[in-house]
């Protein structure tokens, strides 16, 4: 026993200095390495793997002369390492060449879309988390009530639905067959952004909120029930602490930690979920950009968007981990 404490002692004190900073550092370093590998995978897959990307772009209309011109334009006549280096440095300097479909600079095409998608993800995440946490907490407090049963069945049904089915249902109800309250497509005038016409955001946000709420709600309910049945809540009850105080001060903070991880995971989901939803509503974000770029074999655009989405993914993973540790005192000091 003495040996154990002796070995554990220094480790704890060393970590106690900056445990969170150390964690962030480790995670960030690991994230950068992962991103580097991801960029390599994306690059090799799109540029090199299929024999010749230029041939894929030109398709059946390829002539030897046009192939050579495009190969030169895409730098395919250089060595793989040189191509990768050129592309990687382009990611940081913003010089990624031109779109093969429209001829415009890639970064210019993507940056406006990135802002729109960012607004979509942020608004969805904010609304979805609030609604999910509230519904989950309510279901836990009224466990086995009618409300609890109905929400849990609805949640189970909704979690299985593809985004496009939810979106189509909303379009049928709100913008075509049943009523015409909202626009079915989110067409934006060039140079304007999504928040300038909020009504265009309603249906895309509603679709994504419906997708993410059940997950957050279910985790919040489970964590809240666990907290309400815990010894410290029992203790507080015995001490005569008012019920509202037990819920708000004792149960909720402890239930929110695992829920935050699920919220983080749902932000991760949004990175993929926006692709289909933006396409359906014609919302000018990077998801819709990716679909049309894949349709046009516009490789520079595909590369950039996929790397952005992967970077967001890796970044959110780190943020989720760190917040989860910060939100759980037990884990902050454990071991």
């Amino acid at each position: 026993m003495a040996v154990v404490t002796a070995t554990a002692g220094p480790a704890v004190s060393r970590r106690a200095a900056h445990p969170i900073l150390a964690l962030v550092g480790r995670r960030a370093l690991f994230g950068i390495v992962t991103l580097f590998v991801v960029s390599l995978v994306v690059f090799l897959a799109t540029q090199v793997l299929p024999g010749n990307a230029a041939a894929a772009v030109l398709g059946r209309n390829a002539t030897p002369a046009s192939l050579r011109v495009l190969e030169h334009q895409m730098h395919l006549d250089r060595s793989v390492a040189a191509q990768y280096w050129g592309w990687l440095s382009g990611l940081f300097t913003g010089k990624l060449g031109n779109s093969l479909a429209s001829g415009q600079p890639v970064w210019g095409l993507v940056s406006g879309r990135l802002i729109n998608s960012g607004v979509l993800v942020f608004v969805t995440g904010a609304i979805g988390s609030t609604v999910g946490v509230a519904l989950g907490a309510a279901a836990a407090l009224r466990r086995d009530s009618q409300f609890d049963h109905v929400t849990s069945v609805v949640a189970l049904a909704v979690t299985s639905l593809p985004e496009f089915v939810i979106a189509i249902a909303l379009i049928i109800v709100f913008s075509t067959v049943v009523s015409h309250l909202l626009p079915a497509v989110s067409l934006l005038a060039p140079g304007t952004y999504a928040w300038q016409q909020p009504e265009l955001l309603v249906l895309p946000v509603a679709t994504l909120v419906i997708v993410i709420v059940p997950y957050i709600m279910r985790m919040m309910r489970a964590a809240m029930i666990e907290a309400l049945e815990s010894d410290y809540v029992e203790m507080a009850r015995l001490k005569g602490v008012p019920e509202w105080q037990i819920v708000l001060r004792h149960a909720l903070p402890n239930a929110i930690a695992p829920t935050i991880q699920v919220i983080g995971l749902n932000f991760l989901y949004l990175a993929g979920g926006i692709v289909v939803v933006e396409y359906i509503f014609n919302f000018p974000g990077i998801g819709q950009g990716l679909v049309s770029a894949v349709g046009d074999s516009d490789i520079p655009v595909i590369q950039l968007i996929v790397v952005i989405l992967a970077a967001f993914y890796v970044f959110m993973n780190i943020v989720t981990d760190v917040i989860a540790v910060l939100a759980t005192p037990r884990r902050r000091i454990a071991r």
Binding site: L23, R27, V37, L49, A157, I168, T176
Partner: protein, 320 residues
């Protein structure tokens, strides 16, 4: 319950004490838990929905009232007369296209699921059992694949090689593998500590044989749940890709692409969209409900493994 090592998998999820390899009861464990799941309300409803839709998709191509790809009438004709569900964007019979448009989607989803779960199980079990360098390589590969949203991963591959059906199946399978791998890795970590595994190891059995004969039989329950979950997601992703225009070539009908082809005419003939969308919805709801019932019976938790794992698994290893 045997002694369970404090792992990241909740104790209830570790399958019971050593079911010695080769020893067989009257009913295999997986069949009896499937049967128990079917007898619950959820499981019964789920299975009934799935059987209904799968049955429709399988016999559908044989009972189409008209040729599914023939241009027969006006665009977006309302239901009536010969055409019970009206016509689509090109004047084709919606009912026939619905009946013909499900089987390939289901076949692709099933293939992607089987392949993905096999890949993931192989990766997860080897990582946990072999440890060391193999574990590191497998887990880092998983991290890289997990850096892409599943649909984006599939789109990336499709953008390179073109919308080939085998590639869609392969892309979806590969994007499933990491998730399956993670769940099975943590289950294996617990099982490989059990005495009966140690006993076989001491007899000098090769690792491959230990994994196949001793560890895999004990992973049947989490594997069943994973198959159900991944099947649901496979349907969602493959139908989604078809919706985005990456699936069968145009004249062929597919529930996913039908929704996209006909949504411009929603106001004229909504059935051309509602019916395929409802079929996909009922199928995924049924699949998910049935999986939920299996998870409750076979693993005995209120939550799904993916959610249960979240509570413990996603906490950074170095702090948890």
């Amino acid at each position: 319950m045997a002694v369970v090592t404090p792992g990241r998998f909740p104790a209830e999820q570790v399958p019971g004490p050593a079911r010695a390899a080769g020893r067989r009861g009257h009913l295999p464990e997986w069949l009896s838990s499937l049967w128990a799941a079917v007898r619950t309300t959820r499981g019964g409803i789920g299975l009934a929905l799935v059987s209904l839709i799968v049955g429709l998709a399988v016999i559908g191509p044989w009972i189409t009232p008209s040729p599914p790809n023939a241009l027969l009438t006006l665009d977006y004709a309302r239901p009536g007369g010969h055409f019970l569900l009206g016509s689509d964007a090109l004047g084709r019979d919606v009912l026939s296209r619905v009946l013909a448009g499900g089987w390939l989607l289901l076949l692709m989803a099933a293939a992607a699921t089987v392949l993905g779960v096999m890949l993931g199980a192989a990766a997860g079990v080897s990582a946990a059992y072999l440890r060391g360098v193999s574990d590191g390589i497998i887990m880092r590969t998983i991290d890289v694949i997990l850096s892409f949203p599943q649909l984006v991963f599939a789109l990336l591959l499709l953008s390179v090689i073109g919308p080939k059906l085998w590639l869609i199946v392969l892309a979806v399978a590969v994007s499933h593998a990491p998730q399956v791998g993670r769940v099975l890795r943590s289950a294996t970590l617990d099982i490989s500590e059990q005495d009966y595994v140690k006993a076989v190891e001491l007899q000098g059995t090769r690792p491959a044989k230990v994994m196949m004969k001793e560890i895999m039989p004990n992973l049947v329950s989490p594997l069943m749940v994973e198959v159900g979950l991944r099947l649901t997601y496979s349907i969602v992703i493959i139908a989604g890709l078809a919706f985005l225009g990456f699936g069968q070539q145009p004249p062929a009908s597919n529930w996913g692409s039908m929704i996209n082809e006909n949504r411009i005419g929603l106001a004229l003939n909504p059935w051309a969209v509602i019916v395929p969308a409802a079929l996909i919805a009922l199928l995924t709801i049924g699949m998910n409900t049935f999986t939920d019932a299996v998870a409750r019976v076979a693993i005995g938790v209120e939550r799904r493994p993916e959610e249960a794992a979240l509570l413990d698994e996603l906490v950074p290893r170095e702090i948890a």
